[in-house]
């Protein structure tokens, strides 16, 4: 561009210099032409003067010897004038042809002068004088003619030259007018061209920078040269490098967003500055899933909006601690959009992003953990209660046996009325019931350790069925067997298995007091590699409340039940590495499914 500017200014100067030179030379030339015209006209006057002076001498000659004759001095002056007029013609011409003519004219003038001189100096007879006078007169006339000729030719030349000169001057004038007119236009044009050469690239650069600022990083500047080209290349490089950099930032952002979004814990970023600290600035998917809000709903809410009333109480104090830089860990309760309250473990602290303070919180839903903890706690309690009860039962068992034996003795030895006998028999019955309860309580609280042997489940089940059928509960029950004969043996205690099956068969029969179908099914579940035994009835099934408490001790729906049967069953199955699941059948009734692992070794 610098080169262009220098070149432009040089062209400028050169054009003005040339224009100036042309104008000066044109004026010089015109002046010279006018000078030469003036000279030519002066020469014309000189010729006219010569002609007049010749004519005057001629008249001197003609008037000689008349009354009007001029004095000899006047005549001498006239001749001298004529001579001078003729000589003055030689003053300015240089062309050879003209010089020749002028020399000829000068010679003629000299001859004429001689002739005149002769006429005026000669003293002779009239005839000779007449001859001389005639000769002089003729010479004069010839000279006059010559001068007239020269004047005519020269006049026409002068006229021609005048016309040519005036035309040329006129042309020069026109060119000068055009130059003076066009000069500024060219100057303006050149200036415009130069300025445009500067502003156009600047416009292009500005436009490009605006586009890049607007986010169009793929935009590339083209067609610029010189220093502007270098600037354009730098901007293009900058765009490319920005794209590269942004790509890296985007990749990184994507990685962190994935991490953020796929985290199992709810993550919140909260405003820590301004009027409303705690305003949710960002939240991940787990946060929205956990609280039942759409993500957009969460943004802008305050984190305390999720707290339960009880949790809200302590939150300002916690926020203050965090703002002081403390990383806090606490357990509070949150409220879902639908009002469900659940416990969360909060881990939160202050972070700073780009000079702005935020609170980062990780909230973990600990409902399951809490439930597990509660269940464990209850089991422990039960165990303790069971052991307490077993101890007590053990202490009761012997005196109770003594009471029973003593009453039987009294029955045999004392003469009793029928009515008294019935009372005592009833006492013995009640004592036996206490004994059963104590035995069951003992087997629940302190079950005997299983002795593991290979057990053929189908065979044990058949034996348990045979025993069960003796019970009056089975009177109106139809038994159905769906055995898989290829069942492998499992490792378990056969006696405890027998008790488990007996309990469940009786339980099913009792669930169908008006009669029904009892179905026993055994099969191998390949995917889980387990042996499954299902005992189904066609009774009423469970309601929701009773299903949850089914296996809890002392829970019973039966009038004479101890509430320990299913609890003991479950305990025995678990001791033999199995599991039991109670479920309602689709077509009505309930099922107990027992699952044993196959290939179980002795524990």
């Amino acid at each position: 561009m610098k080169k262009k500017i220098i070149l432009g200014l040089s062209v400028f100067s050169l054009v003005f210099f040339m224009g100036g030179i042309y104008i000066i030379s044109a004026i010089e030339e015109s002046t010279a032409k006018l000078d030469s015209l003036i000279t030519l006209h002066q020469v014309e006057i000189l010729r006219e003067h010569l002609l007049l002076s010749i004519k005057r001498v001629q008249s001197d000659l003609n008037l000689r010897n008349t009354r009007y004759a001029r004095s000899i001095d006047t005549i001498v002056d006239d001749v001298k004038n004529m001579g001078q007029a003729a000589r003055s013609c030689n003053g300015c011409h240089h062309s050879e042809k003209v010089m020749e003519k002028l020399n000829d004219l000068q010679a003629s003038v000299d001859i004429y002068k001689d002739s005149i001189s002769r006429v005026f100096t000669i003293r002779a007879n009239e005839a000779r004088i007449l001859v001389e006078e005639d000769a002089a007169f003729r010479t004069g006339e010839e000279l006059t003619e010559k001068v007239k000729n020269i004047i005519a030719i020269a006049s026409s030349n002068v006229a021609k030259k005048t016309r040519t000169s005036l035309r040329e001057i006129n042309n020069t004038k026109k060119i000068l007018f055009i130059l003076v007119g066009i000069g500024p236009i060219i100057a303006i044009g050149l200036t415009f061209f130069l300025i445009r050469g500067l502003t156009k690239p600047v416009d292009i650069l500005l436009n490009a920078i605006r586009k890049i600022k607007g986010g169009n990083l793929d935009f590339r500047i083209e067609g610029l040269e010189d220093e502007f080209g270098e600037v354009a290349a730098a901007i293009n490089d900058m765009s490319a490098s920005l794209i590269d950099h942004i790509g890296k930032v985007e990749d990184s952002e994507k990685r962190y967003r994935t991490l953020f979004e796929s985290a199992g814990d709810a993550i919140f970023i909260l405003e820590a500055e301004g009027e409303k600290p705690g305003t949710i600035f960002a939240a991940n998917k787990a946060a929205s899933d956990m609280h039942g809000y759409m993500k957009d709903e969460l943004i802008g809410m305050n984190i305390t909006d999720l707290d339960t009333l009880e949790s809200t109480v302590g939150s300002p104090e916690k926020v203050q601690r965090m703002l002081k830089g403390e990383w806090i860990k606490t357990e509070i309760t949150h409220c879902k959009k639908d009002g469900t309250i659940f416990p969360v473990e909060v881990s939160a602290g202050l972070i700073e992003i780009g000079n702005h303070k935020y609170i980062l919180t990780f909230d973990r839903d600990i409902t399951n953990r809490k439930q597990a903890e509660e269940a464990l706690q209850r089991t422990e309690q039960l165990k303790m209660v069971g052991e307490l009860a077993a101890g007590l039962a053990h202490e009761i068992k012997n005196p109770l046996a003594g009471i029973e034996v003593s009453i039987e003795l009294l029955l045999e030895e004392l003469p009793l009325t029928e009515r008294d006998r019935d009372v005592l028999l009833k006492v013995i019955d009640e004592i036996k019931r206490i004994e059963i309860s104590i035995r069951e309580l003992l087997s629940f609280a302190k079950p005997p350790s299983p002795e593991f042997h290979p057990v053929t489940v189908n065979a044990v089940m058949d034996k348990a069925m045979t025993f069960s059928l003796k019970n009056p509960s089975f009177s109106s029950i139809r038994l159905m067997k769906e055995y898989d004969d290829s069942n492998p043996d499992i490792m378990a205690d056969p006696v405890q298995m027998h008790q488990v099956f007996m309990n469940l068969l009786l339980n099913a029969a009792e669930a169908m007091p008006g009669g029904g179908t009892l179905t026993v099914k055994t099969c191998v579940d390949e995917p889980s590699n387990t042996l499954q035994v299902t005992i189904s009835d066609t009774g009423k099934g469970f309601d929701k409340a009773s299903r949850e408490k089914l296996f809890q001790p002392f829970f019973t729906t039966k009038a004479k039940g101890t509430g320990l049967g299913l609890a003991v069953t479950k305990r025995l199955i678990e001791q033999n590495n199995g599991a039991i699941i109670a479920e309602n059948n689709i077509g009505g009734g309930a099922s107990f499914r027992i699952v044993f692992p196959i290939g179980q070794k002795k524990n």
Partner: protein
């Protein structure tokens, strides 16, 4: 009219103290006014005198005064030695007293140059003029030497003598003469001489005009009473 004789009239009318005179005009002025010659310039070619020529065209056959009978004669001026006094004396010496009758035509051209030209162009048969002009024209025009022939020559007479008025103080006259003669002795004088075309001034006396007086006497001219105007 005459240019030659007018000097005498002008000398008086203009109350001049001195002037350069031609040979015959000096003789006239001396005789009429008593002017005295002091010196005359010697030209750069060493000449200080001249003489008259009588000449004809070679093809005219004229070689003597006898041949001139009935011919045309061109004089210069009545107040010139070479152009009038000498040829008249020439006629007298050759026994011709009345030349006007002897010649067919006699006239005055007014200038030496015209006389020479008239002879050359045949407008006259015989002409008389001074040798200095003749020699000059002879140098300029080759026809002179080829076509003209000189048949008589006069004796030498001084050219352009400086003469002063008769009653000028003798002391001044002597000082002037001494100064003129010594002009070539210093640079200033040399420069002045050069502008006159002269080498120096040489002493000039009445004796130098011997031939003028002789020719005048021979032709019977009374210089004191001479009418120098040309007649026809």
């Amino acid at each position: 009219m005459s240019r030659y004789g007018n000097i005498v009239e002008n000398f008086v009318s203009e109350h001049l103290d001195g002037a350069f005179f031609g040979s015959f005009t000096y003789a006239l002025a001396h005789s009429m006014l008593g002017v005295e010659v002091l010196a005359r310039p010697e030209l750069s070619d060493g000449t200080s005198t001249y003489h008259g020529h009588i000449f004809v065209r070679k093809d005219s056959g004229i070689r003597s005064a006898a041949d001139m009978k009935g011919k045309r004669f061109a004089f210069v001026d009545k107040a010139t030695t070479a152009g009038y006094i000498f040829p008249i004396s020439y006629f007298r010496k050759n026994g011709i007293v009345n030349y006007k009758k002897y010649l067919k035509e006699a006239y005055f051209t007014g200038t030496h140059e015209d006389t020479i030209d008239d002879v050359l162009t045949g407008r006259t048969d015989v002409g008389a003029a001074k040798n200095t002009v003749y020699d000059r024209i002879e140098n300029e025009d080759k026809r002179i030497k080829k076509e003209l022939v000189i048949i008589a020559e006069s004796g030498d007479v001084p050219e352009n003598g400086l003469a002063v008025r008769k009653d000028l103080d003798a002391g001044i006259r002597n000082n002037l003469k001494a100064a003129l003669l010594a002009m070539d002795a210093d640079q200033e004088g040399m420069n002045a001489l050069k502008s006159l075309g002269a080498k120096r001034f040489i002493d000039t006396t009445e004796a130098d005009y011997k031939y003028v007086y002789e020719y005048a006497r021979e032709t019977g001219i009374d210089l004191a009473q001479y009418d120098y105007r040309n007649d026809r």
